[in-house]
């Protein structure tokens, strides 16, 4: 006989329901910010990886390897505990105590950098799948290298890698759970807190599971919509051939 006393109502009773909602809001904010920064940085770094200019290429390669080869948790600890300890005593206290939401922004930095290295690799793969003559065609009309990337290569590459980018965005939202380890009051943290106060861990953790599921399904829906919006006839199926 199962002797667990289910009490789902704690999930919407005061103050626990409010905690969970606050956690969800933080998770969503964190996820959206990290997605934006990871995409922007990833596109820039991914493009750097294939430029003719060697120093940029080397920088981008080092960047990619650095941020994708170290576990995310370790990177968050590094930004949160290690980097401030390099600061002089007074400043360190100031950083931890006076910067509003310091933990939150540390996770934005850490998760964005980590994810951008993965986005960069996907963008690079996308760019490499575009024929060199497409780039030549853009240059031949008088575009600078920057313009050729800006108006032709990047818009194409992003479309080509939208499906794997969707997976990456899901990963970003799921990875925000690690923010609890540096004290960000997001969904996972809040569900653990509800457990600590009520001893109803099963309900609290189930709530977290359902919340992440809903968030990721929304992301999948939005990305599917973007994919349709940006769909281009003949792009992925066959490029430029007679039909």
């Amino acid at each position: 006989m199962l002797n667990y006393d289910f009490k789902w109502s704690i999930l919407w009773s005061d103050p626990y329901g409010g905690w969970i909602l606050e956690g969800v809001a933080t998770t969503v904010k964190l996820g959206i910010l990290c997605c934006i920064f990871a995409m922007l940085l990833g596109i820039i770094i991914g493009t750097f990886r294939i430029t003719q200019f060697k120093p940029l290429r080397i920088f981008a390669e080092a960047y990619t390897e650095f941020f994708r080869d170290i576990p995310l948790l370790v990177q968050l600890f590094f930004w949160y505990f290690a980097v401030p300890s390099l600061l002089p005593e007074g400043m360190r206290t100031w950083v931890y105590q006076e910067i509003p939401d310091f933990e939150f922004w540390i996770v934005v930095v850490g998760l964005s950098l980590y994810s951008s290295s993965r986005v960069a690799e996907q963008i690079r793969a996308g760019i490499n799948s575009i024929s060199p003559d497409q780039f030549n065609a853009a240059l031949s009309t008088g575009f600078s290298h920057y313009q050729a990337y800006r108006y032709v290569i990047i818009p194409l590459a992003v479309r080509l890698v939208l499906p794997p980018l969707t997976t990456e965005i899901l990963t970003i939202f799921k990875n925000t759970a690690l923010a609890m380890t540096v004290g960000v009051l997001e969904t996972t943290f809040m569900s653990q807190q509800v457990e600590a106060y009520t001893f109803h861990g099963l309900e609290a953790t189930t709530a977290a599971c359902v919340i992440y599921m809903i968030i990721t399904l929304i992301v999948v829906g939005v990305m599917g919509w973007i994919e349709k919006l940006l769909a281009v006839p003949g792009l992925i199926i066959r490029k430029g051939a007679d039909s």
Binding site: S131, D133, Q134, N136, A137, A138, L139, S140, T141, G142, F143, S144, Q147, Y151, V152, P155, L156, R159, L230, V232, P233, G234, L235, K239, G240, A241, D242, S243
Partner: protein, 241 residues
């Protein structure tokens, strides 16, 4: 005017251009032919700086491509190029494909560039396709859009890199017709092609390349009726069957 002076180029150990000399005068149409791997596309792409070369020089209207001060962006605005596989921008509509460079490079207004683009689409015979995406066009139509795109920058010189070799046979003519019109309008053209009918009709000079060298050159009659080199004879036998 384009002067190609002792140009040589290597890919690693392999010499792809071997001491090439040629002059293309204003208004001239030069056809470059030869077996695959003979360096003809490489030569064409070196004319607007898309392929760098190690030795020699190319001068376009007196501007040296070897001069570090040469602005390739300015140079390429004066040289339109058409590619074997069209290379239209698939995410932009036909009209946008044509107007984007005039708008972004020459800072033309949208309406002015659009008007000019429509004129060019009339000229290549497909104004009704303006609002479609390239993926919805046939190969022949795409290549005509590519020609219009190049002409939108009002180039002095047009370069064609095997413009019909990716096309189904029945579409070749519609592209060649546009090119013949262009040639007859006095455009300076360098055309890599095996379309000997086109060469016969409009070429002022035909260059035959093999292994990175210009093996033979002539006007259409001398080249077709009486090629000197064995290599050219063999090549012509194969493609004229």
């Amino acid at each position: 005017m384009i002067e190609i002076i002792n140009v040589s180029k290597w890919f690693g150990e392999h010499k792809v251009l071997d001491n090439v000399n040629e002059t293309i005068n204003k208004g001239q149409v030069v056809v470059i032919c030869g077996p695959s791997g003979s360096g003809k596309s490489t030569l064409l792409k070196s004319l607007n700086g898309l392929e760098p070369f190690q030795e020699g020089d190319i001068r376009v209207d007196g501007i040296s491509l070897k001069d570090p001060k040469t602005n390739f962006i300015m140079l390429r605005q004066k040289m339109g190029m058409v590619f074997q596989r069209f290379e239209l921008y698939p995410h932009l509509k036909v009209l946008e494909n044509i107007t984007i460079a005039p708008i972004k490079v020459l800072n033309q207004s949208k309406s002015k560039a659009g008007q000019k683009a429509m004129e060019l689409l009339e000229r290549v015979g497909i104004p009704e396709q303006a609002e479609k995406y390239p993926g919805n066009l046939s190969g022949g139509q795409q290549q005509r859009v590519a020609i219009a795109r190049a002409l939108a920058m009002e180039p002095d010189i047009m370069l064609f890199d095997e413009p019909t070799s990716a096309l189904d046979p029945e579409m070749i003519k519609e592209v060649l017709d546009v090119m013949v019109d262009l040639a007859k309008s006095g455009m300076t053209m360098a055309v890599v092609t095996h379309e000997m009918g086109f060469a016969k009709e409009v070429a002022d000079e035909i260059i035959f390349m093999d292994e990175g060298r210009i093996v033979e050159r002539g006007t259409d009659k001398s080249f077709f009726e009486n090629p000197e080199s064995e290599r050219a004879k063999e090549f012509l036998r194969k493609i004229l069957i």
